[in-house]
């Protein structure tokens, strides 16, 4: 009885505090339902890959603090396989001078759209490789501090443990050349990662310098172990990236540019090392122009150049483990996109193409989104890959597809 009355007394003390919290707090939520499917252009057969059928973002803010979660329900039509994913869960403190974030989160660095050499803070989810923005990234447990002073922004970031890309091993429907089984990774601690970024505005342009020290997001061949049999050894190389990006305006044109210098080294111990260290650069330049009739045009050039390799590996055998994913397809490519909206944004049209300037391969895409009523959208998109034998897009020709989907936002 005494315990109960003591409990009630505690509750009486806590209740006003709880009530105060609830009255001053703000709950925000949003989300979407996205059923859809993909069909091969070649024979109209279904492409059975998992997709996010539902997504929800919940934010709870109290004073200068905010807790945010972003979850998704992943589903595969063919076998009803499903998984609830907590993509992000982090707390942000907004002091007067900046922002502090701790938890599982997705970051974004860089100036260009989509193909950022300097944005290496999160692993990619290969299942969503052909989506844009944060959709294709995997949240990492990390802490970041951003300080604002006039036109200056200084950011520091710490990731306590490296995480690699989510790779769909044994996925028959997946278009890239991925082995059936996950290769045996060298048993080695992957360690911590950190980065800094400084951004400032000079005149009408934004400039940024960044540095990131971590491990590759993709594992690559580092050598061979001889016992018991000659076995290829793969691991995530230690890589640091020095980055620079800018946004500037010339007349009616918006220019975005980004370059990353990568220094990568093999710090594993294997019997026969194929690579000791290497350096390479990746860059992306983008020009945007909006026409009089509101058509947004964008041209992007993406390039990659290996500067040096020390080891038995040749430049042709070398694989980048970080940077823009397009660098795995080509050393020099050009993409072009055009988009516009009609009927008060009820109809969205977009077309895009990617042309490899070194090998004979290209990609064509088009999408239509129509919103008959507020918060509902019907999506139809088409992607076609073309390439000569031996190119990546040649292997992806059968992945050329039509995608049909419905979106409901709440």
């Amino acid at each position: 009885m005494k315990k109960i009355s003591k409990g009630i007394r505690y509750l009486q003390l806590l209740l006003p505090l709880l009530l105060f919290n609830l009255l001053n707090a703000q709950l925000n939520y949003s989300g979407s339902l996205n059923p859809g499917n993909m069909y091969r252009l070649s024979d109209q057969s279904e492409i059975s890959l998992p997709f996010r059928i539902a997504e929800a973002e919940v934010g709870y803010s109290l004073g200068d603090f905010e807790i945010k979660t972003n979850s998704a329900f992943e589903y595969r039509w063919s076998n009803n396989e499903n998984e609830l994913q907590l993509r992000e869960a982090y707390i942000t403190w907004y002091p007067n001078w900046g922002e502090v974030k701790v938890g599982k989160q997705i970051h974004a660095w860089g100036a260009v759209d989509g193909n950022n050499p300097t944005d290496n803070l999160n692993p990619y989810d290969y299942y969503y490789m052909f989506l844009s923005g944060a959709e294709r990234k995997v949240g990492t447990v990390s802490g970041s501090v951003k300080y604002y002073w006039k036109d200056l922004q200084i950011e520091g970031l710490f990731i306590p443990e490296h995480e690699g890309n989510r790779v769909p091993f044994g996925e028959q429907a997946f278009p890239l050349n991925i082995p059936d089984l996950r290769p045996f990774l060298i048993d080695k601690e992957r360690g911590r990662e950190f980065g800094f970024r400084i951004q400032t505005t000079l005149g009408s342009s934004d400039f940024s310098l960044s540095y990131f020290d971590g491990r590759d997001r993709s594992f690559t061949l580092v050598g061979y172990n001889e016992l018991p049999n000659l076995m290829p050894s793969v691991f995530y190389r230690k890589t640091s990236v020095l980055g620079f990006d800018l946004v500037s305006f010339i007349g009616d044109f918006t220019n975005r540019f980004e370059i990353g210098y990568f220094l990568t080294k093999n710090d594993t111990e294997v019997d026969s090392i194929t690579i000791n260290d290497a350096s390479y650069i990746q860059f992306a330049g983008q020009v945007e122009y909006s026409t009089e009739n509101d058509i947004m045009l964008s041209v992007q050039i993406i390039g990659s150049e290996i500067s040096e390799i020390n080891g038995t590996m040749t430049k042709d055998e070398f694989q980048t483990g970080m940077g823009t994913p397009f660098a795995t397809f080509t050393d020099l490519g050009l993409s072009f996109s055009a988009s516009t909206n009609y009927y008060d944004d009820a109809l969205e049209l977009m077309g895009n193409t990617f042309i490899d300037l070194k090998d004979s391969q290209s990609m064509l895409g088009a999408s239509v989104k129509y919103s008959p009523i507020n918060n509902w959208k019907i999506n139809v998109s088409i992607s076609k890959f073309m390439g000569e034998e031996g190119t990546q897009f040649y292997n992806m020709e059968d992945f050329s597809h039509l995608k049909v989907g419905l979106e409901f936002h709440f």
Binding site: Q26, N28, S30, S32, E57, G59, S61, E66, T92, Y94, N96, G98, E99, I106, H107, A108, D113, S132, G133, A134, E135, K146, Y148, Q153, T201, G203, S204, D206, V247, F249, G251, D252, T254, E288, S290, D294, N341, Y343, D344, D345, A346, S371, N374, N375, K377, E407, H409, F410
Partner: protein, 248 residues
């Protein structure tokens, strides 16, 4: 004293030049800061409507403004920051939650539509007094209100998408009650009508109706929960505040 000068000026009304009237409008007392909820209804030539909702905070006569989009739901979380500078190009940035990125956007294409509406970024920006020429036309009565009528001709440095505006300004409040804007070819492009309310001694805009006569399309913007001089901190107009909705 200011009031006395104002009354004398009003009494001498007709002798004032267009520039003097524009200067009086520019110098009339305005709130240090303002916040509101905004509903924007877009109506096409067939009478079909779509609506957007947003929350806005501004200061320095709208030279600094931050807007958080609430509806349609797929735009919820998108936010827009505008800072107008006197000595360099204006800054416009958008927070795109789907990309987790604050994206710097061009402020030079002032004629671009704001959120698909009939209001352009230029329509939302304050008009620099020195970047326009003002010509006074004959006074008119509009909806029972005695108005000055000004012809406003943007100079080259204004980089305007218009060739001319004709603005009706109520004499007693110095607030614009309607305006017609003409495109570069000199043809009528937009008709705007403004409605005001009194708040803390200021005349504050409550409703704007814009009709693009060439596109036969209209936008009605209604402001609710208006607050003025609530002491908004200048630090609000920073990138970090695009990322979270304010409490009110």
């Amino acid at each position: 004293m200011k009031k006395l000068i104002f009354t004398i000026c009003m009494g001498l009304g007709y002798s004032q030049t267009g520039f003097e009237i524009a200067k009086m409008v520019d110098e009339k007392p305005s709130p240090n800061d303002m916040s509101n909820k905004t509903k924007m209804v877009l109506t096409n030539s067939k009478g079909k409507s779509r609506s957007n909702a947003m929350m806005s905070k501004s200061m320095d006569g709208n030279k600094k403004q931050i807007i958080w989009f609430l509806e349609p739901k797929d735009d919820k979380g998108v936010a827009f920051l505008k800072i107008e500078h006197d000595d360099k190009d204006d800054e416009m940035r958008m927070w795109l939650p789907a990309f987790k990125k604050v994206r710097r956007i061009s402020s030079k294409k002032k004629g671009d539509a704001f959120m698909g509406s009939d209001l352009s970024y230029e329509d939302l920006s304050s008009r620099d007094l020195e970047e326009n020429e003002y010509k006074r036309l004959d006074d008119e009565i509009v909806d029972g209100r005695d108005c000055y009528v000004l012809e406003i001709l943007p100079k080259k440095e204004a980089k305007s998408s218009y060739s001319k505006h004709v603005s009706w300004i109520e004499k007693s409040t110095l607030m614009g009650v309607k305006e017609e804007s003409f495109d570069k070819r000199g043809e009528l492009k937009k008709k705007k009508k403004y409605h005001f309310t009194d708040l803390k001694g200021y005349h504050v805009m409550q409703r704007v109706f814009v009709e693009d006569v060439q596109k036969q399309h209209s936008t009605e913007v209604t402001f609710t929960d208006i607050e003025v001089d609530s002491g908004i901190d200048e630090k609000l107009f920073q990138e970090k505040n695009l990322k979270r909705l304010p409490r009110k």
